[in-house]
């Protein structure tokens, strides 16, 4: 059995200092940013309401198996960029700001998502298991306040030994085939200088 806990509740129950010590048990050597986010950003971001992190734990021994972070995301589409054929569809999903000439579409952002590799191998949660917890939490939020889309970025990582390998493609395929996310473009982030595949899912 998995238990999903909101980090804001954990801050209230443990205090920031003790909670930070508990989060120190999390390790993700495959992607240091995932580990760094949980240890450095998850608490302050939640307190500032920039994103809220959810810990997924084992109900028996309380070990942290993984986590994910959710936020709000506004996507803007220039009205002029939408072809006549697509315009009617765009109106179904976004609110048109006549003054700005843009459709504004609100989405849930799946900002971070990772499993804890410090847990022994047989006990680790798999990606689909973790994704199912994301669906559960977003389903509850959607039930309370509405909303129709989940957005996520997949980093375009490369294999340093073999640049022709594209490990991210497997992830894109997995999110598409198993979770229903559809890639629609790529972007370059001015914040971290990395490239990402942009994916969207209607819920």
């Amino acid at each position: 059995m998995f238990i999903v806990e909101n980090i804001l509740d954990l801050i209230a129950d443990y205090g920031e200092e003790v909670l930070m010590q508990l989060l120190d048990s999390f390790s993700c050597p495959k992607n240091p940013e995932i580990e760094l986010f949980l240890k450095k950003n998850a608490i302050p971001f939640a307190l500032k309401k920039m994103s809220v992190t959810y810990l997924v734990s084992d109900s028996e021994d309380a070990s942290i198996l993984g986590y994910f972070s959710l936020a709000n995301k506004a996507l803007e589409i220039k009205k002029d960029a939408v072809s006549n054929k697509i315009a009617k569809k765009a109106e179904r999903y976004g609110i048109l700001d006549e003054a700005e000439g843009t459709y504004s579409i609100q989405a849930y952002l799946l900002a971070q998502f990772g499993k804890n590799y410090s847990v022994e191998e047989g006990k680790r949660i798999d990606i689909l298991g973790l994704m199912s917890q994301v669906n559960m939490v977003i389903g509850k939020i959607q039930h309370m306040i509405g909303g129709g889309f989940i957005y996520l970025d997949v980093e375009k990582t490369s294999d340093s030994l073999n640049p022709a390998l594209r490990p991210y493609e497997k992830l894109v395929q997995l999110y598409n085939m198993k979770a229903g996310y559809v890639p629609f473009n790529e972007r370059h982030s001015p914040t971290d200088g990395k490239d990402y595949i942009m994916m969207i899912k209607s819920i």
Partner: protein, 65 residues
């Protein structure tokens, strides 16, 4: 996923991308998600869960210290 996703704004100005975005929304409606939460035996923490997990974690800390 990335921390930068929280900061960066997404503005679609290119017509090909705009059409691809709307088509992606339409397509995702047709893709059946194969991972219902119910299949993984999970739940949001109840107050009782939180109290029990906290006790286990704090006891584990004492043992380590």
């Amino acid at each position: 996923m990335a921390t930068s996703s929280i900061y960066d704004t997404v503005k679609i100005k290119d017509s090909k991308v705009a059409d691809a975005f709307i088509n992606a929304i339409e397509e995702s409606k047709r893709v059946e998600s194969m991972i219902p939460a119910s299949a993984f035996n999970a739940r949001m923490a109840t107050r009782e869960d939180s109290v029990r997990l906290r006790e286990i974690r704090l006891n584990n800390r004492k043992v380590v210290n």
